[in-house]
């Protein structure tokens, strides 16, 4: 078992012929992910990687191949439309890797998606991976191992860092989910924690947050009141100067909301373990395994 992606995933790649799209599609195929279609407007009828049909629209790709999950690699100025196109085509899960989407576009995208059955992961995220089953995104597959730890993170590379340390210690994962660093995204920490809580194979969870916003505090409320599985966490940006934007549009502290201290305090109160640095996470997780 796992969450969100697995053996039943049938993936369509939006932007399959672009530089990043092509490179990572190859990696996803090599990992064994069922990539059933690609979409690049104007290139319908072509083939990618020998046996992946390319379509002009997501709708065509869904009706021809039964795709149920989409991944988006298109440039930022086209990405909001690409997400809505995927939702209109009835895709269950849309994973948007693209970074730099204007936040007002995301306000509308998110409001639109709330009226559909489509779930969005991202944008500005590394996607997700269920080891041995499906990689939908750009998380390097070789660092993952099958196991019982669920991981959710706002940061891509920090996720790799932690997974790498886990695997090095022989601790495997159910699913790793990168929810993205933007102020408005499709799926929150809370959403993913609920899924891990219900997933029979996940025995404990790692949450990697960062400064900015209140998503970690909301997650802490859930951890404290509803969650039975142990949670280990880390918050990046403890030394960040206030008021400056740290790359992720989300990672800005201002107005006394969203500092590392607030988040660490909330998580600690909720009974989650908080690591001082990323390398310590694997130690804390191992300790939970007894």
């Amino acid at each position: 078992m796992s969450i969100l992606v697995g053996k039943e995933t049938r993936l369509v790649v939006q932007g399959i012929t672009g530089r990043e799209g092509a490179f990572h599609t190859k990696q996803m195929i090599d990992y064994g992910t069922p990539v059933v279609a690609g979409v690049t407007p104007g290139k319908g009828g072509e083939w990618a990687f020998g046996n992946v049909p390319v379509f002009d629209t997501v709708r065509e790709s869904v009706s021809a191949t039964g795709a149920n999950t989409s991944i988006i690699f298109v440039p930022a100025r086209f990405a909001a439309d690409a997400i809505i196109e995927a939702a209109d085509a009835g895709v269950d899960l849309v994973v948007c890797i693209t970074e730099g989407i204007p936040v007002l576009d995301m306000v509308q995208v998110r409001a639109y998606l709330d009226g559909t059955h489509t779930r969005l992961i991202g944008p500005n995220c590394p996607g997700l991976i269920t080891p041995g089953e499906a990689k939908v995104g750009i998380i390097p597959g070789h660092i993952m191992t099958k196991g019982n730890v669920g991981l959710v993170s706002r940061s891509g590379t920090l996720t790799y860092e932690v997974v790498y340390a886990l695997t090095a210690r022989g601790i495997g994962q159910t699913t790793a989910v990168g929810i993205g660093g933007d102020p408005i995204n499709g799926t929150s920490f809370l959403d993913v924690l609920q899924m891990f809580e219900e997933d029979p194979n996940t025995e404990q969870v790692i949450l990697i947050g960062e400064i900015g916003g209140t998503d970690e505090q909301k997650a802490a409320e859930y951890i404290g009141s509803k969650m039975s599985k142990p949670v280990t966490s880390f918050i990046a940006g403890q030394t960040a100067p206030p008021g400056r934007r740290m790359g992720h549009a989300g990672a800005i502290i201002s107005g006394g909301e969203g500092t590392a201290e607030e988040k660490i305090a909330a998580l600690t109160r909720a009974g989650a373990k908080v690591a001082r640095h990323p390398d310590e996470i694997a130690d804390l997780v191992a300790a939970n395994m007894g």
């Binding site: 100025r77 989407i101 390097p140 660093g181 916003g213 740290m246 549009a249 390398d279």
Partner: protein, 380 residues
């Protein structure tokens, strides 16, 4: 990107928000001419992109044109929080009866643009939020329907605005929301919005912060950018599409991903070092971007060691390695480099760097420890 007060007020005016009929000037003589044209007392206001201009002496009242010239002479060239005043706004002095706050901001929690109003205008709204949170009234605009009049009326009633001003207030609130949309703002604020002696509402001061991700569709706003907003290295980084913030430490950090970059800074500090910068080369950076990043880091003379921490996903370690080599071969590098490459194409990356004789590290903690030691000259 932040807009100056005078730029923000011009945009407000285009959206039907009443503003003073001021003009900007770069010299005291021009200020005098403007004061003559306006007639009556004026306010000379420094145009720098920092808060607290008034407290710093950057905003002065002048009763006559010659006094305005004198005040301008004092303000132009003065330094406020590290920024030199190069331009002033000369506004006719307003007859202020009441100061109100009105702002529009993106609220992450509700995923909406929220409009906030307070009867306590003219002071820092974050101060009001901290000390008198019940003095702030908020409504959320609908992503598709916008700011309906009843929402604006809720604000007006919530702050106890006298009824005769409600209609004008609704028009201003809607104008501010439209300004927010039209400029792709992350913040648009009028502070203070005043009630004048002749019973009118007017935006006396304001600011707009624009979402950098949306600048591609606003060439008209890009032209308004004040290059002094960023320091020279930050500007250079911006040009290369790098996310860079200059700090005061001695360990230059080049990392991919904002979260990992912040975590790298955190761990450097945990091991007793001070980061010289935040630098995220972003996803999928090519060799030239990496080389540019290193040039920027090394241009900071305080940097005593460079820590390169790359965990490749969309970024490929071989591309990073090529960029590092390019930088090393073209720059006069005097400081030790600690390099950690893991992830996509890592073997290829390590092979490219094998001959460059750099300090290599395996884990993040290892890399931080080595960088701190290298900066102290204990490791070469």
């Amino acid at each position: 990107m932040n807009l100056h007060e005078y730029q923000s007020k011009r945009i407000f005016a285009q959206h039907g928000i009443p503003v003073p009929s001021g003009e900007v000037a770069d010299t005291p003589t021009e200020v005098r001419d403007i004061a003559v044209r306006l007639g009556g007392p004026v306010v000379v206001k420094s145009q720098v992109l920092v808060g607290g201009r008034g407290k710093a002496g950057g905003i002065k009242l002048a009763k006559t044109p010659s006094e305005a010239e004198q005040r301008a002479d004092e303000i132009l060239g003065m330094t406020i929080k590290g920024l030199t005043v190069k331009r002033v706004l000369v506004d006719p002095a307003a007859d202020i009866r009441k100061e109100i706050y009105l702002g529009a901001v993106l609220d992450r929690a509700s995923r909406r643009v929220v409009l906030m109003a307070s009867s306590e205008g003219g002071v820092d709204i974050e101060e009001v939020a901290a000390t008198m949170p019940d003095k702030i009234v908020k409504v959320a605009a609908h992503p598709f329907l916008g700011l309906k009049p009843h929402l604006a009326r809720t604000l007006a009633d919530g702050i106890g605005l006298p009824k005769e001003h409600t209609a004008a207030f609704i028009k201003i609130a809607q104008g501010l929301y439209q300004t927010f949309l039209d400029t792709d703002a992350s913040l648009a604020e009028i502070n203070p919005l005043v009630i004048t002696g002749d019973g009118k509402l007017m935006a006396l001061d304001g600011k707009i912060a624009v979402d950098d991700n949306a600048l591609y569709r606003h060439p008209e706003l890009v032209e308004l950018r004040d290059p002094d907003e960023e320091d020279a290295s930050e500007r250079e980084a911006h040009r290369h599409g790098l996310s860079y913030i200059h700090l005061d430490g001695e360990i230059g950090c080049m990392v991919n991903g904002a979260g990992l970059a912040m975590a790298t800074m955190d761990i450097v500090k945990l091991y007793g070092g001070e980061p010289a910068n935040f630098l995220d080369i972003g996803g999928g950076a090519q060799a030239d971007k990496v080389a540019a990043a290193l040039r920027i880091i090394l241009s900071d003379r305080r940097v005593k060691a460079v820590l390169i921490n790359i965990f490749g996903g969309i970024t490929r370690c071989d591309e990073v390695a090529r960029g590092v080599l390019e930088a090393i071969s073209t720059l006069d590098v005097q400081v030790p480099f600690v390099v950690r490459l893991v992830g996509t194409n890592e073997e290829e990356g390590r092979r490219i760097l094998a001959e460059a004789n750099l300090i290599t590290a395996t884990s993040l903690a290892d890399a931080a420890e080595k960088a701190v030691a290298a900066a102290k000259g204990e490791l070469k």
